[in-house]
Amino acid sequence: MRSVAFLPCCMTTVAVAHASMGSTNIFAPQSTPARSIFHLSILVLTITGIIFVVVSTLLLYSILKFRSTSATANSEPAQVYGSTQIELAWTVIPILIVVVLFVATARGIHEIQDAPEPESAVEVTVIGHQFWWEYRYPQLGVVTANELHIPVSDPAHPKPTFLQLLSADTDHSFWVPELAGKTDLIPNHPNRMWMDPQRTGIIVGQCAQYCGTQHAKMLLRVSVDSPEDFAEWVREQQQPAIADERVAAGKRVFETTACINCHSISGTVANGRFGPDLTHLMSRTTIAAGAALNTPENLGLWIENPDAIKRGSLMPAMQLSKSEREALVGYLETLR
């Protein structure tokens, strides 16, 4: 490690990082699939709650009423072997409960899984990687990473987002609780899910299927944008990378080191697919799939010593000199 002094200072930065906002409460749905699940859950919780109260009352009653006392300690109670009617009763009633729950469940499954995709839907292809998310918008020609932007959906004129889920390596799972239930990303097994958030804002989640060392820091950040903001974002993302003459030295560092093997920046020679697309890196609030805030210090630390931010991630330490690194960070800072 080159600059040992650099490290503690950056550790602090990372440690301070960002006050992680973000509710991930499954009972605070902001989208139709999540709401549908919420309604089903109320029914299920009510029914199971009633069962719990009834049965535990019976249990408690039997413990209290049929305790052995000093008066009864020396004789055996009536030896009852069973009762067909009672057995029948407590078979039939549970079967009826099961039928009710199943009908509600089947309806919920169909409503969510078999929902048709309307013309207005935004399509995103999500590719799970160890340990980051790749997003491609095939209709719009946008490629980005880790922070998903989708348009808000007006219930009167729905504009849902349909995700196609793929994986480049191991199994992952896309879970943003307030938008939808989770669906896995499995190599060679494309999946599909949808969401139609009805409020703008930032909604968070994270990978839910253990995918390796840094499964815990494969965070999800969804920005639900108003139609104007979304259009603006798309427009920016469709542009090639900004070419600022002042950071040409940094750009040269990027283009002549191993960065280009893994990363892409449109308009340059870099077209690696192993790591995130950096064309509009500065449009993102965080780096390393949410593991750190997108600041120059963190960027420098990430390049110098990724293990300090996300130990076991597949980003290698780039072994650059201090000046090379600073130039590189300066270049990256221009990629809006």
């Binding site: 440690a15 973000g22 509710s23 409460n25 499954i26 699940i37 859950s41 299920v44 199971t48 719990f52 049965v55 535990s56 249990l59 039997s62 413990i63 049929f66 052995s68 300690a73 055996e76 109670p77 030896q79 009852v80 072997y81 069973g82 009672i86 057995e87 407590w90 549970p94 099961v98 729950l101 199943f102 509600a104 469940t105 919920g108 499954i109 899984q113 078999d114 160890q130 889920l165 191991t170 199994d171 879970w175 939808a180 239930g181 989770k182 669906t183 896995d184 190599p187 097994h189 994270q206 839910a208 299927q209 253990y210 390796g212 060392t213 499964h215 815990a216 820091k217 965070l219 949410g290």
Partner: protein, 557 residues
């Protein structure tokens, strides 16, 4: 305590040299000793698995704690799960089955004593092989080369590309070997039950414990080999260049999941059915009534055994099966709740109208009933597929299955320990320590596992070595950790009770609980040959008939 002790009036016999005693134990084919070997083995691994979980809980008690590295953490949760299922729960339940089944059917030993010993040593070797993985690799404090792929070892995480090195191989080989041991034990249980029942003991007169272990053994035969098959396929992929689970060649990661869960789901019924067996023997004795609805209990268990083979993909609701498949597995999973619920009602029906004695075995059995009810209900919630799309892979599921395994199975096991320890050792466990054990464990258990459901509902996934602040998970995780430490203390109280009562416990005599099945008709501990004369029975409760000749069960059955 040795059953070899010879009493010479007026004389004193020297104790056997320890080397000879050790050789006796290592070469034994006596089902009772093998049972005890299994149980002691399981207790040691319980402590190891418990140690692993305390590391996990310390790491998670607050956001962004850096107690251990992610690599170590991932090894800890993998080893914790693998240890608890395969090297604690399976062995301890096989141990009790080994000890009790021949005694309860009036036999002198298992049908195949040498196979029995071989099965134990195979399983024991499996555990040692798994733990050997801690040595080497990144050294003991880096948790060596221990498996870190989760106890389900999902493909393609276990492929050479993503798991270089041998950690996955330790998982595969250790379980392959101990799986064969399990099959040997299952063969023994079934052969003993079908072939060695004493005269008069028709199948309809067997104690429920024997019936339930029979069903369990049948399930072991059917479901362990699918896991072995999948593991062989994994080895073919890793070492012979095979493509069973290789996405690049058209292989399917989902196929691993199907094969694993075809084993994995029935496996948890294999674990819980013997727990049912324990409380089915204990609750009647401490309520002073026969089990309510014996035939229905048998039928319900057989039904559970069969239906459990059809529910496996409820572990895969998020994998992207089509809506028909999801609905099918939803209905089968809900359906299995019916016979299970029936059993709960029958246990309560047994207590109803009884004279309940709140000795320690009964306390743990009542705890079992209460907690198993709750875990069954959270299971029903998980069967409602869309709800599962939120709950799956989160701490809600972790809470659910620990509720079953700790709140259900472990509580039933504790009940079994307090009930049959006198038979195995001739000494009573201390009631005072037992009550401390129960209440401490009960409080710790509920603190941990009641609260643990909430982070799941608030979006906390499982298998994460750390988490972000501001999600509302911090305080909840702290409470969970505190409960874990309380349970650890309670477990130590239990272990102390086991050890100190061995030397200082009250003499038990043949039948300290005034019970009704055949094991209580012989001495505590029983002689090597179990019974002086082979018993002959005329009802389900032969000792009740002996004690109540004016009103024997044989009149009513």
């Amino acid at each position: 305590m040795s059953s070899d002790a010879i009493i010479i009036p007026g004389g004193r016999v020297e104790g056997k040299p320890w080397v000879d005693a050790l050789q006796d134990w290592v070469t034994t084919v006596d089902h009772k000793r093998i049972g005890i070997l299994y149980i002691v083995y399981a207790l040691i691994f319980l402590l190891l698995g418990g140690f692993e979980v305390l590391i996990i809980r310390i790491q998670l008690m607050h956001s962004r704690i850096d107690f251990v590295s992610p690599q170590v953490f991932n090894r800890m949760f993998t080893m914790h799960g693998t240890t608890m299922i395969f090297f604690v729960a399976m062995p301890v339940l096989f141990g009790f089955a080994n000890y009790l089944v021949p005694l309860m059917v009036g036999a002198r030993d298992m049908a195949f004593p040498r196979l029995n010993a071989f099965s134990f040593w195979l399983s024991a070797f499996g555990g040692l092989l798994l733990y050997f993985s801690f040595l080497g690799g990144s050294g003991l404090y880096g948790a060596g080369n221990a498996p870190d792929v989760g106890w389900w070892a999902y493909a393609p995480l276990t492929a050479r590309a993503f798991s270089p090195g041998h950690s996955s191989d330790y998982w595969t080989l250790a379980l392959l070997v101990s799986g064969f041991g399990s099959i040997g034990t299952a063969i023994n249980i079934i052969s003993t039950t079908l072939c060695l029942r004493c005269p008069g003991m028709r199948l309809s007169r067997m104690p429920l414990l024997v019936w339930l272990n029979l069903v369990m053994a049948g399930m072991v035969l059917i479901v362990i080999t699918p896991l072995s098959a999948a593991q062989i396929m994994l080895l073919v992929d890793r070492y012979l260049g095979g493509h069973f689970f290789d996405a690049q060649a058209g292989g399917s990661a989902v196929l691993w999941m199907h094969f694993f869960w075809i084993f994995g789901h029935p496996e948890v019924y294999i674990l819980v059915i013997p727990a049912f067996a324990f409380v089915s023997e204990i609750i009647p004795v401490f309520s002073r009534k026969p089990i309510f609805g014996y035939p229905v209990m048998v039928a319900a268990t057989v039904c559970i055994g069969f239906v459990s083979l059809s529910v496996w993909a409820h572990h895969m609701f998020t994998v992207g099966m089509n809506s028909y498949a999801n609905s099918f597995f939803a209905i089968t999973t809900m359906a299995i709740g019916v016979p299970t619920g029936i059993k709960i009602f029958n246990w309560i029906g047994t207590m109803w109208g009884g004279r309940i004695q709140f000795k320690t075995p009964m306390l743990f059995s009542i705890g079992f009933l209460f907690q198993f009810l709750i875990s069954g209900l959270t299971g029903i919630m998980l069967a409602c597929v869309p709800f599962d799309w939120q709950l799956s892979l989160s701490y809600f599921v972790v809470a659910h299955f620990h509720y079953v395994i700790v709140g259900g199975i472990l509580f039933a096991l504790f009940a079994a320990f307090y009930y049959w320890y006198p038979k195995m050792t001739g000494r009573m466990l201390s009631e005072r320590l037992g009550k401390w054990h129960f209440w401490l464990f009960f409080i710790g258990f509920h603190l941990t596992f009641d609260v643990m459901h909430v982070p799941g509902l608030l979006g906390m996934p499982r298998r994460i070595y750390t988490y972000e602040p501001g999600r509302g998970w911090d305080t909840l995780n702290l409470i969970v950790t505190i409960g874990a430490f309380i349970q650890a203390v309670a477990t130590l109280v239990f272990v102390w009770n086991l050890i100190s009562s061995y030397f200082n416990g009250a003499e038990a005599g043949n039948d300290p609980w005034d019970a009704w099945t055949l094991e209580w008709s012989t001495s505590s501990p029983p002689p090597t040959y179990n019974f002086a004369t082979v018993p002959e029975v005329a009802s389900r409760r032969p000792l009740w008939d002996l004690k109540h000749p004016e009103d024997p069960d044989s009149q009513y059955e």
